[in-house]
Symmetry: C2
Subunit: 705 residues, 2 copies
């Protein structure tokens, strides 16, 4: 476990420790001391003296104990030298708080820091970070506000300012932390490295990440998928909008990936993506304190019909299923339902329900095995006893919190606000807004579904990669960044994609034989380097329905071409399959700048161009994932068959998706490969690759587009 000594160092040095409380080097030492870190703490300052009661060392070489972790908070020009000294002293991890490197354009120094560190076997967090907090070691090595309470939530943040503010927020929201790490410029250690530690860390029950840009997205996606199989990961990714992603790029050293690809990879990894910081906190807090439901059926209990309807809307939006057996509902609530009430779900107790009625109904839901979660809504009524009501909610929550998910949403004035505030401070999931409450439960549902869902296996497929690579190499040797049509056709054949069959006949007899083999209708085209405008020369015939037509056309083509270009050397006549009409689709795969190999599927023509109806995944994908991609298209019903049409050959499409995805993952020389159109026929009748285009990555790393 390479990151252990970052989170659990045996001794720490603070390079740039200061006795001036205004300095970062003071605050870091102060936080380390105050957090109760049990290991050795060694302030390093050329002036020596004493800092917060600890003796300061002029140099790291003066420290005799083995130091695992060095926190560096000195001006940028002196950092490299300090890194060298740390290496010599046998430090294992560096936390470089200092800023002023790649984020302001100085990539070179940053690279050298990492390179020197690596030469000494050190790993670097930062630069441009606020430090690290680790509950495992009672260690707060940040310059944040201090006073962090230990608990189940780990935070990994690319924004320092937001990270410090989040530490504050968790304190007021009574959310305990297992770790907080600022990743800054990610010159060396990135989210994936940290995830590897946090996944196996038993203190950490939920991971919250703020991401602006992704560098090695391929590894990130893989590590996230491993993490979400064991604990929920909530990600806030800024730069969704075009302008936002420009702002993100200007503010950090890394580029934000195209949001569609990011979003696809996050879903593929089982990550819960939050839109705002508030939403992320709502989810994290709830996920950290709530058991997964054993089934899908939730029940809404309300004393106000209006708010019950709003909750129903919210359930649909957030993927929360409502229990629907009317007979069981009627039976369960028969003893506890006031007059005028409705036992339909939402269960409406009406404003006439007392607090006791309300608590009894909630109890009825939670005691019933067929009901798996409760959404408890309450509107303030004129006659309302705050303290009594709060006690009833406390009691219900205490009895069921370990067994079933519950969310409360209360709505009203000062007295309701007091109840919300008090219960929240005790860690009870009480909200002031129905949508927020249901959104929390929805996150839990998604996390549960993901955990139980069988993960699509990636079946190994046997492709002649070396042969394909040979074709690419020859094109590259030719100075080309793309394949010529016959080369692409050869790759298609190696991938087992069906292109329209096409052969060259040297005589009429041979043409007749080819027509029979290929199957009518066929097209014919003159093959001659000397005839450039084949149609103009009468060298093309389409839609030949039978042998007679083929014979006529063969003779007519030769006649016209000889008349038109008398000296042309004619090599033969190409006989080609006429592609039957079908549904036009596109399958593409490419090396994404941030996420590496990705594969894309969409309906062709106007669907992809006008409606932007496409689906992405990180490649490779297995057959089940490919079919899942296809089913996610908005225009999927077209492939299932609408208006009397038959179901299309989805299995055959999936096969093309799988093969292209596999190819770009194995063959990184391919910058971009696209089958457009891929014509799809009825179920069982396969597909035809009408055109395939392949772009090759240039050795310089430049990508043709």
């Amino acid at each position: 476990m390479e990151m252990r000594s970052l989170f659990e160092p045996r001794a720490i040095a603070v390079i740039g420790a200061s006795s001036n409380p205004e300095k970062i080097g003071y605050r870091v030492v102060e936080n380390i001391v105050q957090s109760g870190y049990p290991g050795g703490v060694f302030p390093i300052n050329p002036k020596g003296g004493e800092i917060l009661g600890l003796p300061a060392y002029a140099s790291l070489s003066d420290v005799e104990e083995a130091v695992d972790l060095a926190v560096i908070a000195i001006p940028a020009p002196r950092v490299l030298e300090a890194v060298e000294a740390c290496g010599v002293a046998g430090v294992k991890h560096l936390v470089v708080i200092t800023s002023g490197f790649s984020e302001v354009g100085d990539l070179e120094t940053e690279r050298r820091i990492v390179s020197v560190a690596r030469d000494h076997g050190m790993r670097v967090l930062g630069p441009n970070v606020f430090g690290i907090y680790s509950a495992a070691s009672s260690l707060d090595a940040t310059f944040g506000p201090g006073g962090i309470a230990p608990g189940p939530v780990a935070i990994v943040t690319q924004s320092g300012a937001l990270g410090i503010a989040m530490i504050g927020k968790t304190a007021t929201e009574s959310v305990g932390l297992s770790a907080v790490v600022s990743v800054g410029n990610k010159a060396d250690i990135d989210e994936a490295d940290l995830l590897e530690y946090l996944v196996q860390d038993e203190r950490t029950r939920v991971i919250l990440m703020y991401i602006e840009g992704v560098k090695d997205g391929e590894r990130l996606g893989r590590t996230l998928a491993e993490a979400t199989a064991r604990k929920p990961v909530v990600v806030i990714k800024s730069g969704r909008s075009k302008r936002g992603s420009m702002a993100a790029a200007s503010h950090t050293g890394s580029l934000a990936g195209a949001d569609e690809v990011f979003d696809a990879v996050m879903r593929q990894s089982g990550v819960l993506r939050a839109e705002s910081v508030q939403e992320a906190f709502t989810w994290v807090r709830y996920l950290a304190s709530t058991p997964h439901p054993v089934g899908d059926d939730a029940v809404i209990v309300t004393n106000g019909g209006g708010i019950g309807v709003l909750a129903t809307d919210a359930c649909e939006k957030h993927g929360v299923t409502l229990y629907d057996d009317q007979a069981v509902l009627a039976a369960v609530f028969s003893g506890v339902m006031p007059d005028f009430g409705s036992s339909k779900n939402p269960v409406d107790l009406t404003g006439q329900a007392t607090a006791e009625d309300y608590a009894r109904s909630l109890d009825a839901v939670l005691a019933e095995d067929r009901m798996h979660a409760a959404i408890a809504l309450y509107c303030e009524t004129a006659l309302f006893d705050t303290a009594r009501f709060a006690d009833l909610l406390r009691d219900v929550y205490a009895r069921y919190r370990e067994r079933k998910p519950i969310v409360f949403s209360l709505f009203g004035g000062e007295r309701i606000d007091t109840v919300i505030r008090d219960l929240r401070a005790e860690g009870i999931p009480v909200f002031g807004d129905v949508y927020q409450a249901v959104s929390a439960l929805g996150a839990l549902y998604r996390s549960k579904r993901w955990r139980r869902q069988p993960k699509g296996a990636i079946e190994p497929i046997d492709l002649p990669i070396e042969e394909i690579r040979g074709i690419l190499d020859r094109a590259r040797a030719d100075g080309r960044a793309f394949l010529l049509a016959p080369e692409a056709a050869r790759v298609a054949a190696l991938l087992d994609l069906k292109m329209p069959i096409s052969r060259v006949g040297r005589s009429l007899d041979e043409a007749v034989r080819l027509g029979g083999e290929i199957g009518y209708p066929v097209a014919m085209k003159i093959v001659s380097k000397d005839i450039v405008h084949k149609s103009d020369a009468g060298g093309v015939a389409l839609d030949l329905e039978n042998e007679d037509e083929l014979v006529d056309a063969y003779q007519a083509i030769l006649r016209s071409c000889r008349a038109s270009v008398p000296n042309a050397i004619i090599e033969g006549i190409e006989v080609a399959e006429m592609v039957r009409p079908g549904i036009e689709t596109i399958v593409g795969a490419r090396q994404d700048q941030s996420f590496g190999p990705v594969v894309m599927f969409g309906l062709g023509g106007i669907y992809v161009e006008v409606m932007k109806d496409v689906v992405f995944r990180a490649a490779p994908v297995g057959r089940s994932t490919a079919r899942e991609m296809i089913s996610e298209l908005r225009s999927y019903p077209l492939l299932l068959g609408v208006r009397g049409e038959r179901r299309k050959d989805i299995v055959a499409i999936a096969e093309v998706v799988v093969r292209l995805g596999y190819l770009v993952e194995r063959c990184r020389e391919i910058a971009d490969i696209e089958v457009n159109p891929l014509i799809v026929y009825d179920h069982g009748e396969g597909t035809r690759t009408v055109d395939m285009r392949i772009l090759i990555k240039q050795p310089s790393g430049g990508e043709p587009t």
Copy 2:
């Protein structure tokens, strides 16, 4: 102003007043007295005596003063009798708090209450309401929590429980109220009646409505459009989801309209539709206290890059435009920007900015005429002086609040929370979440844009409505709920819609002449009542390119038909225009259950069926609104011309939309009319109505579907 005596009664009777503090009849009197209502208050209770110091009358007839408003809170079986007594006593408005009418299935008593009231010239609010609050009369005639502070926001709610809770919420959120009305079952008075009063009420600056179901949506839409031209209206409509709308229907007496139509009419009326109660409150509070921006360009000022990027994303989502002149930005911030900061918008002062830097930068934005609104974001930093910071924000807000919109979003721990709480209590728009802050500003932007946007005029068009009505009447007299093809064709002609030209020729010569007139290619079809399966009898010929082909086909058709059905009486041969291929669209119009006449446009075939890409409006619509509808389709680029295609004839489509909308508005007998497909050609080449279907409303009110 018919509603004046509801909001501004000279004297009030409370029928069912009680001296038992547990009773609604007590709480209403208590609220009236405590709210400081200056007019006469007359508790009515058969037992007489004294209630809260007021003499109680045994009967309304004992009251000598003229009573404008009677609040009824007695058991349901006695309400009708009380209504009669109120009528006799000359009461003008009734507020029927009592429940147990249409909402539990008793429509009949509710109808009689309204009918008796109307006979006496009274209007009825309710039944099943919590009462009314009106700041104009210092009157709280509800059984709510009391203590309502007067202010600029009016609330109209269909849910009583939610209404009472909202009163409480406004108090804690320091939102003053101009009026609160519970509409309950809407047996008589509905939202439109109330809007008419609230629009002209000068105290009311913003109107907040909670709607579950709509009865007279046509009038509601019209009244809302008049209202939003003068003040913002925020609507929360529950029942968005399928299940939610079922729940809404079970909980109130009215049916929730299809959400797409509701949403379309709300946008057409300039209403701001909120998803949740929290969102509605956020908007209302901000709209009530903030001037419209004079232009569109907002500037984000932040001390944290991450939160700046999140705000940029939120701006795109909520339609807030960001100022983009880099040179001006650089100039404006040159004096106030710390090192490492970025003057790009979002303006990032970095975590090193002091509170003073921050305030100075905000000031720079607000003082600059080219920048029209400020989004001020702040992340808690380690070195942070709460009181000083709050004072700086107070000062900036006080100086610019009358001139420019500002939103603040602060993020951090306990100290930040304190600042948020304190400033919010003073009415300063400070939020704890970036998305919420930007959403408030977005609502203001939309309100401003709506107010300034020229409203699409509805040009009068001259349609032969009476002639169309004649056709409908004859079909109805025939016992039909639909028009036959020739009838529909006649209506199309009267609407000036171009159907494929088609004439019947009685001889070969005549057929040849018709072919020439219509223009080749043409189709021909045998006309004979005796030949049912025309194709099977060889009675159809398509794609006739010229006169020769027509002549051959004419003779072939006659020959085959005579051979196939020897005794058939042949009336002639129909010669019809072959419709050239173009883009298939659908235009429809119908009487919506809730909203009356509505018109719909979408692309045809798979687009409407699979992608649900359609746009609705309440009818009639003018030409500019019709063009706006067309432009709102996701597939609009198809009509603008993609992939080298030419722009389609949008003007001609709009004309069809206008005509159908106008027709269903004038001709309520038409239940449903649909042109499908309407084939659209290139710009200037018009459209063809290939098929038109018309359903007629049955006199019983039943609608064929």
